[in-house]
């Protein structure tokens, strides 16, 4: 296995372990409470309507929307870290079959790894401050990096070896 392949396999394995640790932490300390908050705020909406308090109902819906926004992104970060990590490891094993120089392969591997780490982290960052654009910009950058690098990998598989 060449250096770029090792980088992808090791980086992917670390990313997978990190994604699992995040998932374990999330399941133990955050998920149940988040789901409870979502269910309670939705129920509170209709209880408020029954109590003829529409203002409180709208506040409860707002809380539900915000909690769901965070929940979707937290679950997405976990699943994307795991999924991308697996892709890194698979590609790492066959990276020496790419018809590129080792330097170029290293660049592709670094781009794949950076994008795969950055994209889910940026998705998580979106929950820290919904109004800030930094999370969205970094998520777009991270995902673009992965897709461009992956297109490069596909091109490398198609090319005839020199």
């Amino acid at each position: 296995m060449n250096g770029s392949g090792k980088l992808l396999v090791l980086g992917g394995a670390v990313l997978a372990a990190f994604g699992m640790l995040y998932g374990l932490h999330y399941a133990l300390l955050v998920e149940h409470q988040t789901l409870d908050r979502m269910g309670n705020s939705l129920a509170q909406t209709f209880v408020s309507v029954a109590n003829q308090n529409p203002k409180q109902a709208h506040t409860a819906i707002k809380t539900y929307g915000a909690t769901r926004y965070d929940y979707v992104r937290q679950v997405d970060a976990h699943s994307h870290w795991g999924g991308l990590a697996m892709l890194m490891i698979v590609l790492g094993i066959v990276f020496d079959k790419l018809a590129f120089t080792e330097n170029f392969r290293r660049g592709l591997a670094a781009a794949l790894l950076t994008g795969s780490t950055l994209f889910p982290a940026a998705v998580l960052l979106q929950t820290a401050d919904r109004t800030a654009m930094l999370g969205s910009v970094l998520a777009v950058l991270g995902s673009a990096l992965v897709m461009v690098a992956l297109a490069g990998v596909a091109w490398g598989f198609l090319r005839e070896p020199a």
Binding site: M1, K6, V9, L10, A13, V14, A16, A17, M20, L21, G23, L24, A27, L28, H32, Q33, L35, D36, G39, L42, A43, T45, F46, V47, S48, V49, A50, N51, Q52, P54, A57, H58, I61, K62, Y64, G65, R68, Y69, V72, S79, G82, G83, M86, L87, I89, V90, I93, V94, A139, S143, V146, M147, L150, A151, V153, A154, F157
Partner: protein, 349 residues
């Protein structure tokens, strides 16, 4: 059985079981559960319109149970198939794990044990609940699932340690490398898998850019409308809002399912290309399973996306696509079963 073959066999078995569970869930639970959730939300809105706060709480008590039922079944399906993918991956990196073969086998056994504990624990969460639990919100089934996750992490850490030793120059004594022969089946799975993954990424990017935020805004808007209609005691308005809410839920579900399934099938195709040397079947049969697998891998996500336009017809074809994938995997598993012992016999000869 070596660690590599244990992981390949266990990995494919986990994927087949996870997919069969997903198919059964889609046919017998998903649509019915969605319908019941809509009915319960309607009951809550009607109770609110009648100024019956206790009725609202009763309705939501059953919504919680329905959501938990649905969520834990999706998680069981996802975690079982993903653990299977990871097992196949670990099988591929075994030639680069510089540990004694006995320890590698122990790690493989631990990994497979954790892979069963985690989804089984998740599945039981809905049925066991908080019975006999000393914790406020975590039941024994959650403890089983979390313990399974911890076992997986420990096994993975062991594999990383072995790979680190390989990188530091320690020789690997056991497990011959999974040799790729560049057969038709391997090449088609490799290229087909890459195309599927790329298509899935592109669709995911398109969904995140154009659908995700509007759908999130639409959910809050529909709920606000529902609350207003309930406040005005407008039965017709409540029904319209509930229908809109159900439609939105379906649109979100099919988009996410199409995105995740096409990528997962692509990954699985890539992984299966590596294990083809272990499939002890004639080249013609290997080709048949590959064609069946790729056909199902395209059919399922495409028809899932078409479900909103074509309804149950597309849903039925999507389920059939999933079944094609399962049949192809069972075919390959049979080939791997036939291989059992052959490599060891050759090595010791």
């Amino acid at each position: 059985m070596s660690a590599t073959r244990l992981l390949i066999f266990g990995g494919i078995a986990l994927i087949v079981t996870g997919m069969l569970f997903g198919d059964i869930f889609a046919v017998f639970v998903l649509h019915q559960n969605g319908g019941r959730t809509g009915e319960t939300l309607l009951a809550a809105a009607r109770a609110a319109a009648d100024r019956d706060a206790a009725g609202v709480r009763n309705a939501f008590a059953s919504v919680d149970a329905l959501l938990e039922d649905r969520g834990t079944k999706i998680d069981t399906h996802v975690h079982m198939t993903d653990a299977g993918y990871l097992a196949l991956l670990l099988a591929l990196v075994q030639p680069y794990v510089a540990l004694p073969s006995r320890r590698k086998k122990r790690l493989a056994q631990a990994f497979l044990a954790g892979s069963v504990m985690l989804p089984v624990g998740i599945f039981l969460i809905h049925y066991v609940g908080l019975a006999y639990s000393p914790f406020a919100v975590i039941g024994w089934a959650s403890v089983l699932a979390d313990a399974g996750g911890a076992v997986l992490i420990v096994a993975l850490a062991g594999e990383i340690w072995g790979f680190w030793k390989y990188i530091r120059g320690q020789a690997v004594r056991s497990d011959a490398e999974v040799a790729q022969h560049g057969s038709w089946a391997e090449r088609v799975l490799l290229s087909g898998g890459t195309v599927l993954v790329l298509l899935g990424f592109l669709y995911g990017a398109w969904y995140a850019a154009f659908d995700l935020y509007p759908q999130e805004d639409a959910e809050v808007r529909i709920l606000n409308t529902l609350a207003e209609q309930a406040n005005a005691n407008n039965a017709a308005g409540i029904s319209v809002a509930i229908n809109d809410y159900g439609g939105l839920g379906a649109a979100k579900a099919v988009s996410i399912a199409a995105h995740s399934h096409i990528i997962e099938f692509g990954m699985l195709a890539l992984l299966l290309s590596f294990v083809q040397p272990y499939v002890f079947l004639s080249e013609a049969w290997k080709r048949r399973w590959v064609i069946l697998f790729l056909a199902g891998s395209v059919l399922l996500p495409v028809c899932v996306l078409l479900e909103l336009k074509l309804g149950l017809l597309a849903g039925g074809i999507a389920d059939a696509g999933g079944l094609l994938v399962v049949i192809a995997l069972i075919g390959m598993l049979a080939g791997i079963f036939r291989y059992t012992g052959r490599a060891d016999a050759l090595r010791t000869a």
